[in-house]
């Protein structure tokens, strides 16, 4: 090991550190030593050989090179898992941002979108042909009182009506008036284990959805049987649908037939399983 000062002085910068900034200070020092007798001190500009400069710029270029790692997004196989991770991360942040007590904005009746301008969105049919007289909600999973529940039992719970914004993943939004029972009241009635992680629902049109427990217990989350103070129409999900002002539209399943309280999801939801956000809280 040779000490630094035995190295030839003619090679400036030989011990420049690979820091964020190239260090030409050593060179400046040399300059000052060489011209100690100059009376008028000027701002001294370090002199660097072209070769030395080329080395420095090459090294600086390599430091920026990690940016090309983003190119992995262009590899089809890796792309899918990378984007899935990005979406999962977004969902994780979404769940952290959700606040149990924070209410979605509500609106005056004058701000309501007229009922006939409230879009009807399905993945399959407008009307899956539910026979109302025979309809029951099948309750299962981590509950004390599983079984078939009639609409009258849901309607016997305290009714909540609110004007809230309905946001579709496509980008449009409407303000609607919804009425129903708080899902949290229903969960109390069926003796649900609210320490379980999820609620899943099945629908008459084979649509399916899931909901995190925190959102299920939110005071604005409704088992909805009314829109605009009238019984739910078939196209809007009669006899019972979910209304969740803190969630995106596709979470708010219509024509409910099954409800389960569970800790495990074998599938998340119809759209989620095709690549849409699992949590999508607003």
């Amino acid at each position: 090991m040779e000490p630094d000062d035995t190295k030839p002085a003619a090679v400036p910068l030989s011990n420049a550190k690979a820091g964020a900034e190239p260090d030409f200070a050593a060179n400046r020092a040399t300059e000052e030593k060489e011209r100690p007798l100059v009376a008028q001190r000027k701002i001294i500009i370090p002199k660097v050989t072209e070769r030395r400069f080329a080395q420095t710029t090459r090294r600086e270029l390599f430091k920026v090179a990690p940016v090309v790692l983003l190119g992995t997004f262009a590899i089809p196989r890796v792309q899918e898992s990378l984007l899935k991770s990005g979406l999962s991360f977004s969902d994780w942040v979404s769940a952290r941002l959700f606040r149990r007590g924070h209410l979605a904005p509500t609106f005056a009746d004058s701000q309501l979108t007229p009922f006939d301008k409230f879009p009807i969105n399905d993945y399959d049919v407008d009307d899956p042909g539910v026979i109302f007289e025979n309809w029951t909600l099948n309750v299962s999973g981590a509950v004390q009182k599983p079984g078939e529940y009639r609409l009258a039992q849901v309607q016997a719970l305290p009714r909540v009506r609110h004007n809230t914004r309905h946001v579709c993943v496509e980008g449009w939004d409407v303000i609607g008036r919804f009425g129903g029972a708080k899902l949290s009241d229903f969960l109390t009635m069926i003796g649900a284990d609210t320490s379980a992680r999820f609620i899943t629902v099945g629908c008459a049109d084979d649509y399916y959805e899931s909901l995190d427990m925190a959102t299920a217990l939110h005071p604005q989350t409704l088992l909805c049987y009314e829109m605009y103070d009238r019984p739910l129409s078939r196209e809007h999900g009669a006899p019972l649908r979910l209304n969740i002002p803190t969630k995106i539209g596709y979470k708010q399943a219509k024509y409910l037939t099954d409800l389960k309280v569970t800790n495990v999801l074998d599938r998340v939801g119809y759209w989620e399983d095709q690549g849409y956000s699992s949590f999508y809280g607003l």
Binding site: E50, V67, L87, S94, Y276
Partner: protein
């Protein structure tokens, strides 16, 4: 430190001759942020336009009046769900580089090179005259001329606004105050869209200027060093 100037020399035997100058303009962190941001901005605009295709309007859903039919070939993601995946992934890179950039500029003092202030106002008109071919080029003593500073400062403000409007669209309930400040969820979506076009306009102008100002200028954003600067 940005602003460091060196003299380039060539040695032949005992003789040395000065062949040029170089200035260190862009610290490493700024360069990394620049390129990460450029890529994420490209992906965000492309996937954003695919998302827009799902409802290409800012009016009511019923009846729906489309604003424009953006061609699928100039969008990223292929379908709405795919585009949302790209958007919700790259927005984190965009936010991270944005915050890193702002933090670095602030704490290093490097922002003085970019920030447009009242002291730059007198230099605006001479520069406009020069750009529109009826004035000689004003003398330049720093990395950016007043119009450049104005453009960069504006686009940084737009960048911040793009995140805020995006947040209001993504989380109109949790950030209901933000959506309210922006007029509503509905309007926030329109601002988000317009900000994107403003940023695309900046990028186009930026690219034209890079082409006009040559190779050394482009290379400086890769290596940090600009050879033969104009100042």
């Amino acid at each position: 430190m940005s602003g460091t100037v060196i003299e380039l020399i060539r040695t032949k035997g005992d003789e040395t001759e000065t062949v040029g100058r170089a200035v260190y303009e862009h610290p490493l962190l700024i360069r990394l942020c620049h390129w990460l941001n450029a890529i994420s901005l490209f992906v965000l605009a492309g996937s954003g336009l695919q998302i827009f295709r799902a409802f290409p309007s800012f009016g009511a859903k019923i009846p729906q009046k489309d604003l424009l039919q953006w061609p699928k070939a100039f969008a990223i993601g292929g379908w709405l769900g795919g585009a949302l995946q790209w958007h919700l992934t790259f927005m984190w890179i965009y936010i991270a580089t944005g915050l890193t950039y702002l933090g670095y500029q602030f704490f290093s003092g490097n922002y003085k090179q970019v920030l447009f202030t009242h002291r730059d106002i007198p230099g605006v008109w001479p520069m406009v005259r020069h750009y529109f071919f009826f004035g000689s080029k004003p003398e330049q003593h720093e990395a950016y001329n007043p119009l450049q500073k104005h453009a960069y400062t504006t686009v940084i403000v737009l960048g911040v606004l793009s995140v805020l409007t995006g947040l209001a669209i993504w989380k109109p309930v949790q950030f209901s105050w933000l959506a309210w400040l922006l007029g509503s969820f509905h309007l926030a979506r329109l601002w988000h869209f317009l900000i994107m076009w403003a940023m695309i306009a900046f990028v186009l102008g930026h690219l034209i200027m890079v082409l006009l100002h040559g190779w050394n200028n482009f290379v400086s954003m890769l290596t940090g060093w600009k050879k033969d600067p104009e100042y």
